[in-house]
Assembly symmetry: C2
Homo-oligomer: 224 residues x 2
């Protein structure tokens, strides 16, 4: 069994020897670092902490978040298996990161990556791709936040579906509250909107966390 860390306790990465799952991944980056397991809601790093590590998800889902001065929470991003996260613009984390479900994560020393990047053009290229993708996502997000609740939810579903690549059915490991804080809506509005989309047959709620996209064209129309 992977190491389980207790919930809600800020944790430091813990070395625990390579796991079989890690060898299944491609690319030189995967050959570095220690795989660490996190339980549901475990904190991977905290806001304001030194950004000394970069992470790659082997299994599970991670969210980054930030508590605003007025107590509201903003989700920075969701990361799925295969995604990397934790590389920030500055040398301090602007968001905190938590596991959404049972997750296994490779922990890479940032300094080691940067050192390799100086020698190895492919690694440098990889870092550039990584931060470029973060920028693209953030820009997408800005566009999304300018839209109506229905458009935001539709766009979110399409984005998740594309990232999961599993046909027209979407798996939502995160709660309605997580989605709401990501989209800048309330939980109630997310719920109503999903049920509204189900009402006009654009989607079908197989259950709360599992959704079938029935009319992708209609969803893309909304996502415009």
């Amino acid at each position: 069994m992977p190491i389980q860390l207790s919930p809600h306790v800020p944790t430091r990465p813990v070395r625990s020897g390579p796991q079989p799952a890690m060898r299944a991944l491609g690319g030189p980056i995967d050959m570095m670092g220690a795989p660490v397991a996190f339980a549901r809601n475990d904190e991977i790093y905290a806001e304001g902490e030194a950004a000394d590590y970069v992470y790659k998800i082997v299994r599970g889902t991670v969210r980054t978040s930030k508590i605003l001065a007025d107590g509201r929470r903003q989700i920075g991003a969701f990361y799925l298996a295969g995604d990397m996260f934790g590389l920030e613009a500055g040398d301090e984390h602007v968001f905190s990161a938590e596991a959404i479900d049972e997750s296994q994560v490779l922990v890479l020393k940032r300094s080691a990556l940067v050192a390799r990047a100086a020698r190895d053009g492919a690694v440098a290229q990889g870092l550039w791709t990584l931060i470029s993708r973060e920028l693209s996502r953030a820009q997408e997000r800005v566009l999304l936040l300018a839209k109506t609740a229905q458009e935001r939810v539709a766009g979110f579903l399409l984005d998740m579906a594309a990232r999961q690549g599993a046909g027209d059915t979407v798996d939502l490991p995160m709660s309605r509250q997580d989605i709401a804080d990501y989209l800048g809506l309330t939980m109630e509005t997310v719920s109503r909107t999903l049920n509204g989309l189900a009402g006009n047959a654009s989607i079908q709620l197989l259950n709360a966390r599992h959704i079938a996209l029935r009319d992708i064209a209609a969803l893309q129309q909304m996502n415009a």
Copy 2:
């Protein structure tokens, strides 16, 4: 006189020999590229165009924007004198760029920059800083868009004031519509909010495009 290009016509960068203003700037990047002048509302590059050039503003102000499928316009960012823009995640521009007022811009070939970056660590560092700053701004923006109209406007004024560095008075070269499209509000709401802030003495509208910040603490409070 700088070259004047007719409004609303997509333009290619035009060589026109170094101008005195360019030599006043520091750093190796400033010694490259051709300064080009743009008139109010001139397009510097279009959405979807190849991102072959990177730009540095010598004088003036630039906005990047994108027309959504439903006809609404979203402003990507405002760039002031000294700022660089046009470096995108992909090799195609996601936004278009237009001059807000009479502007003078250095045009740098992206490939030349990248080539220099491979040899010169300082240039590579500069590119990294540039894209990092873009990412930070985009993230800031996401947080801003989760707030009320008053908070967005207050945050915008504080941001502009900080970037202009000219004490507690802010110069707004862009129209109310530009601000609205940047903040995800309507022009009317921006206008009402500014006049509301003036009403409670947080700011003073010297004129429509020139604002004095009278109670920065109150504005920061809103910006929370």
